[in-house]
Symmetry: C2
Subunit: 294 residues, 2 copies
Amino acid sequence: MAEKLIESVINISEGQRPEVVASLAEIFRAGARLLDYSADYCHNRSVFTLVGDADALLETVFAAVSYAVANIDLRRHQGEHPRIGAVDVIPFIPLGGTRMTDCIDLARRLGERIGRELAIPVYLYQEAATRQERCNLSEVRRGQFEGLAAKMARPAWQPDFGPAEPHPSFGAVAIGARFFLVAYNINLAVNDVDQAKRIAKKIREADGGLAKVKALGFLVDGRAQVSINLTDYRQTGLLEVYRAVEQEAARLGIEIANSELIGLLPQRAILDVAAAALALPGLTKEQILEHWLD
Amino acid sequence: MAEKLIESVINISEGQRPEVVASLAEIFRAGARLLDYSADYCHNRSVFTLVGDADALLETVFAAVSYAVANIDLRRHQGEHPRIGAVDVIPFIPLGGTRMTDCIDLARRLGERIGRELAIPVYLYQEAATRQERCNLSEVRRGQFEGLAAKMARPAWQPDFGPAEPHPSFGAVAIGARFFLVAYNINLAVNDVDQAKRIAKKIREADGGLAKVKALGFLVDGRAQVSINLTDYRQTGLLEVYRAVEQEAARLGIEIANSELIGLLPQRAILDVAAAALALPGLTKEQILEHWLD
């Protein structure tokens, strides 16, 4: 990992035509490391996780957006997930020693090029945002593709790059920078979803809980689940959130059954759990044997 | 890590002549990955940690033993640490998907060659042992270099390979196979060494405690320390031993200050801590982002 690596999790409004998804995967594979991808038919949406340095990602993602302009038409797109564009959201996430400013720079370079060469309006969001309203992706996406022309007529929604009107078939794209998101679910040993909702409300930042923690309660396979996003595991780590759920559950007289991670997470997030559980503050990746073998 | 990797932690009876230690390091580096080495003046001993496949280790370690025959004379060796040979102990440790039988095979191949080509008596120990008395390294080393001629006169101490008498200047060498050893210290928030000794006695296997756990109490930098070896972290992991010490300490009305790892440990040992702390039984290295980047 000598290069300055950046991750991108690209959301594309196509999940029903396997040949289009496969072509996009090929484009990503040709220029970066495609770690994972999946397509969801009902959401009519696919998600590609890739890693590379800034220059590689700039070229590869631009190629994918070019392909999407030619092959995805949102005027004929139906699906459950909110979206504003054929390529809907492109976040850049710093890995290893890469800094957030590197990701913001990349978001701007890519946005400028997409606006200029493809005539697609671009909104910079979250850490790359240029206006307060664009810090929150759901604000950027509000009104969706169908409401985009009316939204863009308002001065506050002039795009950061590209034309002042939606691209007729593509719409617009949100490009941003953010920290790594850890998706983590804790299953309770009860089937009462209200208990999960109550615990979620206690621990989430929006209701005065833990910093950088989002949480909702669901019923999954007949079991109450607290579904959690850690938007900055350096501020609130997995063990801290686990212990908070354990404590709130104990107050309700219930127990945790088990927990599960969705997708990948940085090694540092696991080292942080071990460091906290063992009162071993100095634990580093250099103490892991495999670090020296790769 | 497609190759079948083996670790070796080679103990050599030389810690006072830096040029000899440096020459040995060069020999190891030329044929394997030398992860770490250190020399101890008072023990008059050096320890080299290297990793490679079986063939690479066979050649490299044989070269180091050949060098030691020519350059280290135990008849003039003084130091605090018990030893029977110029190269004293050579354990082979399976890493990743490597099996213990691979390490036992390597111990035998190396032992046969050292016995035949260098006329040095070889004792196979621990998992590679051919007699019950040789399962425990300290039995093999009992009597040390100075008592070796008398010991070898007894039928039970005929070597596995090589001549029936000590090599005049080298002595003999113990070659074995064992599982990865994790060295882990827990510091107590008190300066009374008796408390550490009491806790060590409670948790160690020898006194009816946890499986595959060795423990002693020491006073280190004015703080009571429980010094622990986990000889099979798959049977008793770091978190289990931490919680056992925490519980015994609580009975004595004292607290843990912090803990520390000595040397390297396999990633799996850390994943096990996180899995136990988070009730996340399925945690694998494939969920770690960096796994896909190397």
